[in-house]
């Protein structure tokens, strides 16, 4: 008679996982356990969970064996990705009008802006010229009293004492240095 296997008996006992095993063993934990990279503070909980669930234990062992095939597939998908990128780029180049249209839009906006600035500048310069013409229309006497023609008689009637040095009537009093008397006396 063959002796019963402890392993078989134990697995029969754990066919139905404990609640803690179900709660603890998500895909992330299972993958880490398969790679032997369980976080140290989780070790005991994860090991207990795996010991209590034959299904999860089988999954972890299966993942360990599947790892090389998964690495191969990942590598193959990475090699395929650049080819796809190139294809995407080519398909984008097949629609260059979109870019051209966008260029025209920006050009139109810039042209409108330049036109607006030019219009504003033109209007402000017209206002400046208007002011100048108004100045020209002002009465001359109000603008400049010095050169006004009406000032000339006033200047003519001004007191002759304003210029004492060259005044003819003042020869006696204004300059004593060249008097004859001083030379004689």
């Amino acid at each position: 008679m063959t002796r019963p296997s402890l392993s078989e008996l134990y697995r029969r006992q754990t066919l139905r996982p404990t609640l803690s095993a179900r709660a603890l063993l998500d895909s992330e934990t299972a993958v880490r356990a398969a790679r032997g990279r369980v976080v140290p503070h989780e070790c005991e909980d994860v090991a207990t969970a795996l010991a209590g669930s034959a299904g999860h234990a089988d999954l972890v062992r299966m993942l360990r064996e599947l790892e090389p095939a998964s690495a191969e597939l990942a590598q193959a998908l990475r090699q395929q990705a650049p080819a796809h990128d190139l294809r995407e780029r080519i398909s984008r180049q097949a629609h260059p009008r979109r870019h051209d249209r966008r260029g025209w839009q920006w050009g139109a906006i810039a042209a409108i802006f330049v036109a607006a600035v030019a219009l504003f500048a033109a209007r402000s310069s017209v206002h400046g010229l208007g002011d100048q013409s108004a100045l020209a229309q002002m009465p001359l006497h109000a603008v400049d009293g010095i050169f006004g023609s009406q000032m000339e008689p006033r200047l003519a009637q001004q007191d002759l004492r304003s210029d004492v040095i060259f005044h003819t009537d003042n020869t006696d009093n204004s300059d004593h240095i060249f008097r004859e008397q001083l030379g004689g006396g």
């Binding site: 134990y10 139905r16 609640l19 993958v31 034959a54 299966m62």
Partner: protein
């Protein structure tokens, strides 16, 4: 030009088909069918999930760990569904877990094995805590290096714990009148 004639599309299909068949073979060889998981369903589901992931972002750099997680989550979902199906007629559920009846085993043998299972449970519980976990993992089918990784020790330390623990477990079972057992 149809999508199926795209060489990249065909290559992707071929890659996923090859990978799917490996997954299927491993699911079958690791006795996951014993837990109500259908290897063909897992293969199909893994292929669909990976296909969607690639379609979602073709320029993404896929890592092995991501692919492994896809497989793991597919199997875990299948295990849950199988457990829900199996749990429906059961009256209560405890944290210790309940054995599912095996339809291939007769009632006498089932009672005999049930007795052994109970004796094993009692003897395991009586072992020192330090040895109980490595022995449980060993009985669950993990190799010494895997046990060492899981409990955070060296392979040599795991070997000693398992070896001494198994001797002690067998002695306890013998003393309890359960007879002799193989590993």
């Amino acid at each position: 030009m149809g999508r199926n004639s795209d060489p990249n599309h065909e290559r992707l299909q071929r890659l996923l088909a090859e990978y799917g068949s490996k997954v299927r073979a491993l699911v079958a060889s690791h006795r996951l069918a014993q837990h109500g998981v259908d290897p063909a369903d897992i293969e199909q589901e893994v292929r669909i999930r990976l296909w969607r992931a690639v379609e979602r972002d073709r320029s993404a750099a896929f890592h092995a760990s991501y692919i492994q997680r896809v497989v793991a989550s597919t199997v875990i979902d299948a295990l849950r569904r199988a457990q829900v199906r199996a749990a429906e007629p059961l009256p209560e559920e405890s944290d210790e877990g309940v054995s599912l009846p095996d339809p291939t085993v007769g009632p006498e043998q089932s009672a005999y094995e049930g007795q052994h299972v109970e004796q094993l449970r009692r003897c395991l519980a009586a072992l020192p805590e330090r040895r109980r976990l490595p022995i449980s993992l060993h009985l669950q089918g993990f190799a010494l290096q895997e046990i060492a990784d899981l409990i955070g020790t060296s392979a040599e330390a795991a070997r000693k714990l398992v070896s001494r623990g198994m001797d002690e477990l067998k002695n306890r079972l013998r003393d309890a009148g359960a007879g002799e057992f193989d590993d």
